[in-house]
Every structure is written in structure tokens, then in C-alpha cells.
Symmetry: C2
Subunit: 247 residues, 2 copies
């Protein structure tokens, strides 16, 4: 078989494209430990020869591996397998309805309290803003199969999201509304554990002193605060699962 016929031919018998094959080959060597951290990956021109392709093709494969933090590329020196620095887990927090229906349970929602007001000093501190604009303060509860699932305590900055003034939070949970109306977000989550106080225990239908998982989420839209929300979950029954992956 000639070199020419052995080569590329994108959609012949090999399903994946060439650059994907190169990427997978290298990835596999790294993941199996055949190429340990610090190992120098063959130079681009060596890979060109091995796979009989142009430099752009191997470059694309290597660039993607670098983007995924699997390798590090240094000019003049070459590309090297990175040592895993930390386990990073991706915590996917869908909106509450999606989270509950994904568990195969029926979703229930109750608005406990919703008021519109000029931001108090406490509100401003919580939202991290200095000017006293209007805010919406919401307390509500999510349930799964009619059992309390989480209580939510939220503040929305109306100067960032004026449209929220017209939303009907008795019908639609504020989390869902925001997810579908605020085009993009940056967020910070803080997870901690507390014991249920009187008010929380009552809302969740658990004993005072029972453990609760607390998630505080702050959401921004290009440097403007959108919302601050605190969620209380019954700690012994609820679990946050973060799957995947070494890096």
C-alpha cells in the first residue's frame, strides 16, 4: 500500500477525523500513565511524520489538549504532560424544577413572601452594591412529591434586571424566571452546613437542630449584581452530586 493511499482520506473507513484521532491517541497515553506528568510529547514535526499530515492538523489536536489543561506548551521547549494539580468537580445546578423532575419526582412550588422595596443597608451589603436602588425580596419553597425539598431566600436587584418587576413569582419560581430571562451570568457558590433554626425547621418540616446544607449563590451579569440567593436543604436527605473529572 502506498503512502498516499494510506493517508488521510477523511471519510473513508476511519470514522473520527484525523486530528481527533491524534488527540485521542495522546490523551489515552496520558490517561493510562504511559506518558507520565512532565513527559515531553513528540514535536509537531515528529507527529506530522507519524500521522502523515500537515502541521495545522497536529497543531489543532495539541491546542485542544492544551485548552483542556492536559498538556502544557512552551515555545522552543515543546509540549509536556501536565501534572494533575487538583481535582475539579463540575457542580451542575439546574433550576429547581429541572433538578426535581430529573429525579422522577413531581415538582411543587409555593411563594411564601414577595415584596418590592428600596434596598435597605442589609440588602445593599448582601448584593454588594453601594447605591440604594429597588430590589425584590422573595421567600419561597420547592417541594418534591409534596415533601419540602428546599427553602429559598432571594434578593433581586431591579436596577440590573428591571424586567423582573413585571414577572409573576407566584406562578413561576424566580430561579427559573431569571435563568430564562437573564442572558448570561457569572456566579459564585458557597456551600456550608448549619443546624436548622426555628423558621427553617418549620418551612422544611424537619426538627430544630437538624443539619441543613446551605448554598449561597451570587450571580452577576457583566459586573452588575443580578441576584443573591440562599437555599436551605435538609442535610440528611439531600445530596449535592458533582461528577467528573481530573485536572
Amino acid at each position: 500500500m502506498s503512502l498516499a493511499s494510506e493517508r488521510a482520506k477523511p471519510g473513508a473507513s476511519s470514522k473520527p477525523t484525523l486530528y481527533k484521532r491524534i488527540r485521542l491517541d495522546i490523551e489515552t497515553r496520558i490517561l493510562t500513565g504511559e506518558w507520565p506528568p512532565g513527559h515531553r510529547i513528540p514535536f509537531e514535526h515528529q507527529l506530522m511524520a507519524r500521522y502523515r499530515c500537515s502541521r495545522m492538523t497536529v497543531n489543532k489536536a495539541l491546542s485542544e489538549l492544551a485548552q483542556a489543561d492536559l498538556i502544557e506548551r512552551r515555545r522552543r521547549a515543546g509540549s509536556f504532560v501536565r501534572r494533575p494539580q487538583h481535582l475539579s468537580a463540575v457542580l451542575k445546578i439546574a433550576d429547581m424544577r429541572a433538578e426535581i423532575t430529573a429525579l422522577g419526582r413531581s415538582y411543587g412550588y409555593q411563594l411564601i413572601d414577595c415584596r418590592r422595596r428600596t434596598a435597605t443597608a442589609a440588602d445593599r451589603a448582601r448584593l454588594g452594591v453601594s447605591t440604594a436602588g429597588k430590589v425584590i425580596a422573595i421567600a419561597c419553597r420547592h417541594s418534591a412529591d409534596n415533601v419540602p425539598f428546599a427553602v429559598e431566600d432571594r434578593l433581586i436587584d431591579l436596577s440590573t434586571v428591571p424586567e423582573a418587576a413585571t414577572a409573576d413569582f407566584a406562578r413561576e419560581p424566580p430561579g427559573s424566571w431569571l435563568l430564562h430571562h437573564v442572558p448570561w451570568t457569572e456566579a459564585e457558590h458557597t456551600i456550608s452546613a448549619v443546624v436548622a433554626d426555628d423558621r427553617t425547621a418549620k418551612a422544611l418540616g424537619i426538627a430544630v437542630g437538624a443539619p441543613c446544607l446551605v448554598i449561597d449563590r451570587y450571580t452577576w451579569r457583566s459586573a452588575r449584581t443580578v441576584t443573591a440567593v440562599r437555599l436551605h436543604y435538609p442535610g440528611e436527605t439531600h445530596r449535592l452530586v458533582a461528577r467528573f473529572k481530573g485536572g
Copy 2:
């Protein structure tokens, strides 16, 4: 100024390269909401004209945006702004020493118990394996500035990581050792809240009944279980922070 002189010139006055500028331009339009979810991004040949560059250059910019899930690309149809599906937070769990020293505190480590044994039924259930190989069971404590920071209860499957038999876990925490000796991992984290029982309270120096954040982590290496670990943090003082990003 002629078209030619206006063009590219990679390292002239513009610091970022052209494809990065294109990517940033589009990203900005999406993040500010100027191009809302569903909006069709100009076709590649239109972007070629706008930026006076070759198709490969705009393709690289668009490919990266697609990889980041900011846009969706469909053959024949074009590229479209994706609607945010869920908030996903990246939880970076470095090894304990790195986590504590990053806070500017001094790291301390004490091995409480370490024993090698043939896997019991409970061990096998916890590791999710069926055969009864050897395991190492470790209990230890991490402290920051001499204050208990977390207690760790770990099982290592020696049939997956035989090298662990020779590690000195009195000197090096098992998490660090594994991170540096097991080339790659997949993991699942489960986060929950409990109240401290007698043993945990004593180890952490907190009151019985105080809230604790619990992280269970299962780690695999290409379908083989590596380790199962349960970490207890004092819940009122410790916080897990997950930063970033809409998607």
C-alpha cells in the same frame, strides 16, 4: 490607509491576536445580551470580510466559542447563540495542604489510624468492587494553624494502586500521595450536611450536634476504583467556594 496596511500585521500595535479579538468581540456581544440566545452569528464568510482575514482564522474563533458552549454550530444553517441551560459551578478541590496553605495558614497533619487488610464486605460495598482484594484503611486529620480543619476517613484499593502499600502515610497525607502518584482520575463528589457525632466532634474539637459539611469522594482510574474518602469539615467555619460560570 489602505486595506492591506489596515489588516492583520500580527504583532504590530494590537496586542491580542486576530482570532482572539474575533472571539472576544463575539463573546462580548453575547454576554451583554446584544446577541440574545437563538441569534444567528454572521456566517464565516461575512466575518472574513469584516475582519479581512482568511476563513481558518474566523473558524478558529468560532470553534473555540462552540467548545465553550457559548454558541452552537449547525451545518448549512449557521452558528447560533446558545441559551444558558444551567448554572454549572466548578468546584476545585485541591489537596488539603494546598488548600490550607493557599489560605495563608500553616498546614498540619496527623495520622490517626492506618491499617492494611483484606477487604471486608463493608469495604467492598464502599469501594464498589466485588472481589476481596487488599485495602488500606486510613483515618487522619488535617489542621490549619493548629486548629482542626477536617477529618478524613479513607479506603484505598490496593489492587488498583499496589504502589500505595509502600507509601508512608504517617509522613505524607494519602490525598497528596495519590494525587502525585495516580496519573489520572475520574471522580464523583457527594456533598451533604450532618450533625457531629461523638467521635467526629472530638476529632474536630467541636460540640456534639454541631453542623458538619461532609464530602464523599469516589475516585476511579479507567473503570477501576482507586479510593473512597469521606471528609468532615466543621460546617459553621468552613466554606466550599465554587466560582464561575454560566453555561
